[in-house]
């Protein structure tokens, strides 16, 4: 391997990019129906985010701008005026390659 590290484990030698393929770099707790947050350490070119709702069946419409590093959540227009979650988590996973 050209970059990273290799580690001898109890199951043999492993390289750093296989030890941990996607780590959680940020856990965002959203407590409003609409809002935004800046996550400078996240790069959607290599990572992804995962949304976990805790209080409602209605999910938000969400968007990520990789230039401004801005994460936005709004009511899903398909559900009109229905109540959306105001208690959900977004897990941002860091990828391993660009």
């Amino acid at each position: 391997m050209s970059y990273g590290v290799q580690v001898m484990t109890s199951t043999g030698q492993m390289s750093s990019d296989t030890l941990n393929t996607y780590g959680i770099v940020k856990i965002l707790h959203c407590q409003t129906e609409t809002g935004s947050a800046t996550i400078p350490e996240f790069n959607s070119d290599v990572g992804f985010w995962h949304l976990v709702i805790g209080d409602s069946v209605f999910e938000q419409a969400v968007a990520w701008n990789n230039t401004t590093k801005s994460f936005v959540w709004i009511r899903d227009a398909a559900f009109g005026g229905r109540v959306h979650s105001s208690n959900f988590y977004v897990y941002f996973f860091r990828g391993v390659s660009a």
């Binding site: 050209s2 970059y3 990273g4 590290v5 580690v7 001898m8 484990t9 109890s10 492993m14 750093s16 990019d17 296989t18 030890l19 941990n20 393929t21 996607y22 780590g23 959680i24 770099v25 856990i27 790069n43 290599v46 992804f48 995962h50 949304l51 976990v52 709702i53 805790g54 209080d55 409602s56 069946v57 209605f58 999910e59 398909a78 559900f79 009109g80 229905r82 979650s85 959900f88 996973f93 860091r94 990828g95 391993v96 390659s97 660009a98």
Partner: protein
């Protein structure tokens, strides 16, 4: 950072950091069906611009409770299992089978449906600072507070990517893919007060290397999937579990 390590790739981008949290497998269960459900059909996800497909058209699988076509089974949590807020639930089944999930979050009882009578469920949780597993080998990384942030001997879930449209699983040999569905995305509701139907999202697991995203829909013969439900909100990720962890 003042402590720990950072690993950079060839583009100068951080590939891993000891400040990252990884998911570790804490339990693996084999769970069997408790009910057969009435007629359902599963569609491949579509782009929003596509038109609806009628019952029985290609890319639709059909199941009926009377065994016509195939059975679709309901599968729940193992007896006594309680989902806690920081748990991630991944499911898998025999290759060639389909599996769906909805409401996989801690304030609801999750429901899984599959055309396989038995599925396998993996429970993953972020490694916490007090997970100080003993080991004579490997690598231990500490965070700024002096707690263990990463341990190479942990039963780390290898997250290989999110569930997206590529349908490819980057899976080396010796691992089984589990699907960790976004609980909210697994539950879509028709915005019509008279027909509050729930639509589990899921996948057909074609093999250890590929899958097809699916949406489960009640099988009224004339139903066409509403446009706003065709787009795959099915977010989630694919985690690879070392097959030696299976009981």
């Amino acid at each position: 950072m003042s402590y720990g390590f950072q690993i950079f790739n060839s583009d100068g981008v951080i590939a891993a950091s000891s400040e990252d949290r990884v998911l570790a497998i804490t339990n693996i269960f084999s769970v069997s069906w408790y009910d057969r459900v009435t007629a359902w059909r599963a569609f491949d996800f579509w782009d929003m611009t596509q038109t609806g497909q009628a019952y029985g058209e290609p890319n639709v699988e059909i199941w009926r409770a009377d065994g016509t076509f195939h059975y679709l089974y309901s599968v729940g949590y193992p007896p006594g299992f309680v989902l806690e807020p920081d748990m991630f639930i991944g499911v898998t089944c025999a290759y060639g089978g389909s599996i769906f999930a909805r409401d996989v979050h801690y304030q609801h009882a999750a429901q899984f449906r599959s055309d396989q009578p038995t599925i396998t469920m993996a429970v993953a949780r972020p490694i916490k600072p007090n997970d100080n597993a003993e080991s004579g080998h490997g690598l231990v990384a500490y965070d700024a507070a002096g707690n263990i942030a990463f341990h190479s001997d942990s039963k780390v879930l290898r997250v290989t990517g999110n569930i997206n449209g590529t349908n490819v699983i980057n899976n080396p040999s010796g691992y089984t893919p589990f699907f960790f569905f976004d609980g909210s995305a697994a539950l879509r509701q028709v915005p019509d007060a008279s027909t509050k139907l729930l639509h589990p999202t899921g996948v057909r697991i074609n093999s250890a290397q590929s899958y097809t995203r699916r949406l489960l829909w009640s099988a009224a013969t004339t139903d066409v999937l509403p446009v706003h439900l065709r787009n795959p909100y099915a977010r989630g990720f694919i985690g690879l579990v070392d097959q030696t962890l299976f009981p």
